[in-house]
Amino acid sequence: MDVWTITIVGVGTVFLALVGLSLMLGMFKRLFHGRKDSAPSAATAEAPRPAPARAADGTLVAVISAAIAAATGGQPGSFRVVSVQASGGFSTPVWGHIDRLTRTGSGR
C-alpha cells in the first residue's frame, strides 16, 4: 500500500466526512431551529403527563411488520395484528424498568 495513497485518501476522507456532516447539520438548522422542543425536559419527568405512549402503541408493530413484510416478500397485511387500543386517561409516564423500581418507595 502506497504511503501517498493513504495520505491523500486519508485527508480526503476526513474532509469528505466532516464536510458531509457539516451539510447535514446545516439542514438541522432549517428543520429544527425555532421549533419548540418536542421532548419534554427531564426535570418534569416526575410530573403527570397525558398518555405519552398512546400515539405510539401501534408504531412498533406497524414498522416491524412493514419491514419484515418487505424483507420476506409478502405484504404488510398478510400477517394482521389487531391494533392495541389505548385506554386513555393515564397520567402515569412510561418509566424504564430500572427507573420504575427506583422511584417507588422500594428504591433507597
Binding site: M1, P52, A53, L60, A67, I68, V81, W95, S106
Partner: protein, 386 residues
C-alpha cells in the same frame, strides 16, 4: 494509486450495501431496513419513553451491527481480535449478565407488601399461566419447543428472565424477544386496563382492602434466605436467577451491607445494562431478524401479556369470592410483574371507580410475587429443555 482509491471506496459501507446477503425487492439491502427499525426503536425509547434504559442500548446495538463491514460482532480470527460487541456479548452467551442484573433488581425490591400478605403469591403464580398458554400456542404455530419456551417467557414481563432463558434455549431469537418483552412492559398501562375492566364488575373494582400489617426487619432478612433455600431445593434450575435476586435483596435488608446494595443497583447494574442492551441488539443481523418469525414472536408476546393479565384478574375474582369480598380482583393483574408499573395500573383503574381507594401497596404484593413466579417458570423451562 487510483486502483487503491477504488479499492478503498469498495470498502465503504455504501458499497457493501450492494453486496448485502439480503436484498429486499431485489433493491433494498436488509441492513438499511434494520437501520430504519433501529431508528424507530430509538424514537420509541427516547421520545415515547418505552423502557429507554434498555431500548436505547438495544436499538443502538442493532444500528451498529447493521452498518456493513463495521465488524463490531466479528469473532476473533487467528491473531486478529474480535469486534468490541463480540466480547461484550460473551456475558449474554455465558448467562452472566442477567443474573447479576437480577441481583440489582433484588437490591431495589421491597418484598414487604408480599410478606405482609402472603396470599399475594397466589396471584403472582396465576399470572404466569400466560407463559405456559403462550408456550402451547407457539408450538401450535410451528415453533420448536425451545423457541416456544423462550417466547412464552415474554409473558413473565421480566426482561432479564426472558433474556436469560432465550440465551440458553435459542439465541437467534434474542433481539425479537428482548424487544417484545421490554416494549410490552412499557405498554402495560395500555394493554392491561381494557382486560381488567372486561373481566370485573364495578362492585369488585370498588372493594377497599384492609391496611397491610407492619413487617419486621427480621422477616425481611429471613425472606430472601428462605426463598432461596425452598425454591432452590424444589427447582435447582431456578437457582441462578432466584439466588441472585435474593442475594441482592439480602444486601438491601441486612442493614450492614448498604455499600453492596448500593453498588448492585447502581454502578454494576448500569454497566451491565449497557453491555447487555448493546450486545442483545447486536444479535439482530438483518437476515436473522427480518423473518416472519419476528412478527409472530411480537404477536405472541402480546398474547402472553394479555393472558397473564386475564388469569391474574380471574384468580383475583376467585380470591374475592373465597375471602368474602375482601380482595379487590384488580390487584391480580399486577401479578405479571413489570414492577411497579402493573401495580400502578391496578391503583389507577381502582381509583377511577372509587377515588378514595389506594390499592398500590396491595398490588405491590402480587407484583413482586410475579418476579419470583416468572423466575420459577423460567426454571421449569430450563429444567425440561436447557
Amino acid at each position: 494509486m487510483w486502483q487503491n482509491i477504488l479499492e478503498f471506496l469498495q470498502s465503504t459501507g455504501f458499497a457493501a450495501f450492494g453486496n448485502s446477503s439480503m436484498m429486499v425487492f431485489g433493491v433494498i439491502p436488509g441492513e438499511l431496513i434494520m437501520i430504519v427499525v433501529a431508528c424507530v426503536l430509538l424514537y420509541l425509547g427516547i421520545a415515547k419513553k418505552f423502557e429507554p434504559l434498555l431500548l436505547v442500548p438495544i436499538a443502538f446495538g442493532m444500528l451498529l451491527v447493521n452498518l456493513p463491514l463495521g465488524g463490531v460482532m466479528a469473532a476473533p480470527l487467528g491473531d486478529t481480535p474480535g469486534g468490541l460487541v463480540y466480547y461484550l456479548y460473551q456475558g449474554v452467551k455465558l448467562g452472566i449478565y442477567p443474573p447479576l442484573i437480577f441481583m440489582g433488581v433484588g437490591a431495589m425490591t421491597d418484598f414487604g407488601p408480599l410478606i405482609a400478605n402472603p396470599r399475594s403469591l397466589l396471584l403472582g403464580a396465576a399470572a404466569q399461566i400466560g407463559i405456559f398458554i403462550t408456550f402451547l400456542g407457539a408450538t401450535a404455530l410451528g415453533f420448536d419447543l425451545k423457541s416456544a419456551a423462550s417466547i412464552g417467557i415474554i409473558g413473565g414481563a421480566d426482561g432479564p428472565t426472558a433474556i436469560f432463558v432465550t440465551s440458553k434455549l435459542n439465541r437467534d431469537l434474542l433481539p425479537a424477544i428482548a424487544i417484545a418483552a421490554y416494549s410490552y412492559m412499557a405498554l402495560v398501562p395500555i394493554i392491561q386496563p381494557p382486560i381488567m375492566k372486561l373481566l370485573t364488575t364495578k362492585k369488585e373494582r370498588m372493594v377497599v382492602m384492609d391496611q397491610l400489617r407492619d413487617v419486621s426487619k427480621t422477616e425481611k432478612i429471613l425472606f430472601p434466605i428462605v426463598v432461596t433455600i425452598a425454591c432452590g431445593l424444589l427447582l435447582p434450575s431456578a437457582v441462578p436467577l432466584l439466588g441472585a435476586l435474593m442475594l441482592g435483596n439480602l444486601f438491601r435488608e441486612t442493614g450492614v451491607t448498604a455499600r453492596l446494595s448500593d453498588t448492585s443497583q447502581n454502578a454494576l447494574m448500569n454497566i451491565l445494562t449497557i453491555f447487555l442492551g448493546v450486545s442483545v441488539g447486536a444479535t439482530a443481523a438483518a437476515e436473522r431478524f427480518l423473518q416472519i418469525e419476528t412478527l409472530k414472536i411480537i404477536a405472541l408476546g402480546l398474547v402472553a401479556f394479555a393472558i397473564g393479565t386475564a388469569s391474574g384478574v380471574l384468580f383475583g375474582k376467585i380470591m374475592y369470592r373465597t375471602s368474602g369480598g375482601k380482595v379487590n380482583p384488580l390487584i391480580g393483574s399486577a401479578g405479571v410483574s413489570a414492577v411497579p408499573m402493573a401495580a400502578r395500573v391496578s391503583q389507577v383503574v381502582g381509583q377511577k371507580e372509587n377515588p378514595g381507594n389506594y390499592l398500590l401497596m396491595h398490588a405491590m404484593g402480587p407484583n413482586v410475587a410475579g418476579v419470583i413466579g416468572s423466575a420459577i417458570a423460567a426454571g421449569v423451562m430450563l429444567s425440561f429443555l436447557g
